[in-house]
């Protein structure tokens, strides 16, 4: 019975990881570093088994640890009659809006910092100092400026996304190899052509590293904003609901969803990055 249960509960949670596996293998093959891809699945399975054991053998009270099956059931009932899909959509909308604003601002300022040494000298130290500020220290200030509603949340996510992008873009553009800069001088490239043909493509890997970081930071900030600011529709709200009403299955479900989306983002970014690196060094 428990084997059957494992197999069943495996499928919904496991599928993203499973679909991820072949691409990872392909990537590994492409770069000649063969990495057996059963290991992540093994640890995942072990964790799941431990979870089952802890619940069904009564190691942890059911009040604090639901059965994995209960979480799956909660998901089903949520999809049928609940609001979880709307919450998910709200959360993703917030996340992507903040990400877009923050990343766009980061790209623009980072490019300016990288191109103009003057701007770099004037604004650069401030940007670096801003980076040293712990992310969540911004929450109270942004709540005062933008309120605890949607605007405040998006502002916070944008700040989180901004930081890695501005640094990556700045560094990437200011670190264009001297040989390429010399070439641009010899070819008499205008500033715009230099940016377009030399600086940005050369900086792209670093810009992308920044964007990858932004994706992760923005996701963290999304969770944080929904927990620390006003409760509103969204996964974070459900997380709060789960803990306050002691709906332990809902709490676990929300955590799992946060984790899976984070994993999905990361996979997406890694794949895009691999593609980009191949393009960039064709």
């Amino acid at each position: 019975m428990s084997i059957d249960a494992t197999a069943r509960s495996d499928s919904p949670a496991d599928s993203p990881a499973a679909s991820l596996a072949p691409s990872r293998r392909a990537t590994a093959r492409r770069y000649g570093a063969l990495r057996p891809d059963w290991r992540p699945l093994a640890s995942f399975g072990a964790l799941l088994a431990l979870w089952f054991a802890a619940h069904h053998l009564g190691w942890i009270a059911a009040k604090y640890l639901p059965s994995p099956l209960a979480v799956v059931e909660r998901l089903m009932s949520e999809i049928r009659t609940g609001t979880i899909l709307d919450d998910l959509q709200e959360t993703l909308r917030r996340n992507l809006s903040g990400l877009a604003i923050g990343a766009a601002a980061g790209l623009a300022l980072g490019a300016l910092l990288g191109i103009s040494t003057l701007v770099g000298r004037i604004v650069g130290p401030t940007v670096l100092a801003q980076r040293q500020t712990a992310l969540f220290a911004w929450v109270p200030l942004l709540a005062m400026w933008f309120g605890g509603g949607d605007t405040g949340k998006i502002a916070f996510i944008a700040v989180a996304a901004f930081q890695p992008v501005v640094i990556g873009t700045w560094r990437g553009i200011s670190l264009v190899p001297a040989t390429y800069r010399e070439l641009s001088d010899v070819l008499l490239l205008s500033r715009w052509n230099y940016i377009r043909l030399v600086a940005v493509p050369s900086a792209l890997p670093m810009i992308f590293t920044g964007l990858h970081g932004a994706l992760i930071y923005a996701w963290l900030a999304t969770v944080g904003s929904e927990l620390f600011l006003n409760i509103s529709p969204g996964l974070g709200g459900r997380l709060n609901q789960g803990s306050q009403l002691f709906e332990i299955d809902l709490l676990f479900l929300a955590i799992l969803l946060f984790g899976l989306i984070g994993l999905g983002y990361n996979t997406l970014a890694e794949r895009a990055e691999a593609l980009l690196v191949r393009w960039n060094s064709r």
């Binding site: 010899v186 008499l188 490239l189 205008s190 064709r282």
Partner: protein
């Protein structure tokens, strides 16, 4: 620079005309750890329009530095460099260079790499495209216009770099050991091509190399540099016979003379 070809081209003989490139008493020092190290000492060289000048010397004799000065990339030196009787003041469209490495931008196609040299030319798009196609044809790579640098062999990439340097029809072509990193066979083949192409374009060429055979085979004149600091040891005209046949007595004699000047004696019997 609307008429890049305004001057009546090559005719590599005129000794009476004033030199196209005039290097006068140029000295250059770098400061390393607070100490000035002289890399070029009192270099004077006059190059006629249409001439092919080979500059040969051991590594560290300042050959590449001299090209950087002529390009206008480095203006911190003593002496004077004049092009057509005007002092060099920064890079200009009448000068182009082929570096030792091809230095193509890996994210641009072959034609875009060559086209990058024309962005400043004032030509319209169609004319630029035609110039790119012409020069790719000149180096025999018209079939690779859409390829990326990483898809090319080292010799092909260097030919693209040559096409890029020539695309703007520069009157001065500076060659910074462009064949040095290639395998021996490719190098021989590209020497032939370089000779043909430079003659075809009518540019004044300055080749820096440490390959004595290459210097003698390609140059109308071979300038031998001594190192530390780089200074001119000899300026040797190359007889036409030596330029056309690598096994001719004239070629061998001149090559041995250059090797001797470089401190490598070739006495085999």
């Amino acid at each position: 620079m609307n008429a890049p070809f305004a001057a009546p081209s090559p005719a590599p003989a005129p000794h009476a005309r004033r030199p196209a490139l005039d290097i006068r008493n140029v000295s250059k020092a770098f400061v390393v750890n607070g100490e000035a190290i002289e890399v070029l000492s009192n270099i004077s060289l006059a190059v006629e329009a249409g001439a092919f000048v080979s500059i040969v010397g051991a590594s560290g004799c300042g050959k590449s530095t001299l090209l950087r000065l002529i390009l206008g990339l480095d203006r911190d030196y003593a002496g004077e460099i004049r092009l057509d009787d005007r002092p060099v003041d920064g890079p200009g469209p009448e000068r182009a260079i082929v570096f030792q490495e091809h230095r193509l931008l890996p994210w641009l196609t072959v034609e875009a790499n060559v086209g990058a040299a024309l962005l400043h030319s004032g030509l319209d798009k169609a004319m630029r495209r035609r110039a790119v196609a012409e020069h790719l044809e000149l180096v025999g790579l018209e079939a690779f216009a859409k390829a990326y640098p990483a898809q090319l062999s080292g010799g092909m990439a260097q030919r693209v770099a040559i096409a890029r340097a020539l695309a703007n029809r520069p009157r001065f072509l500076l060659l910074d050991g462009p064949l040095g990193a290639l395998d021996a066979l490719t190098r021989l083949r590209l020497q032939e091509e370089l000779k043909r192409i430079v003659a075809h374009e009518g540019s004044t060429a300055l080749l820096v190399t440490h390959d004595v055979d290459e210097a003698v085979y390609l140059g109308h004149v071979v300038v031998v540099l001594h190192p530390r600091p780089g200074r001119i040891a000899a300026v040797l005209p190359v007889p036409e016979e030596a330029r056309s046949d690598r096994s001719s007595p004239a070629f061998v004699a001149l090559r041995d003379r250059v090797l001797e000047l470089l401190g490598v004696t070739r006495r085999t019997g």
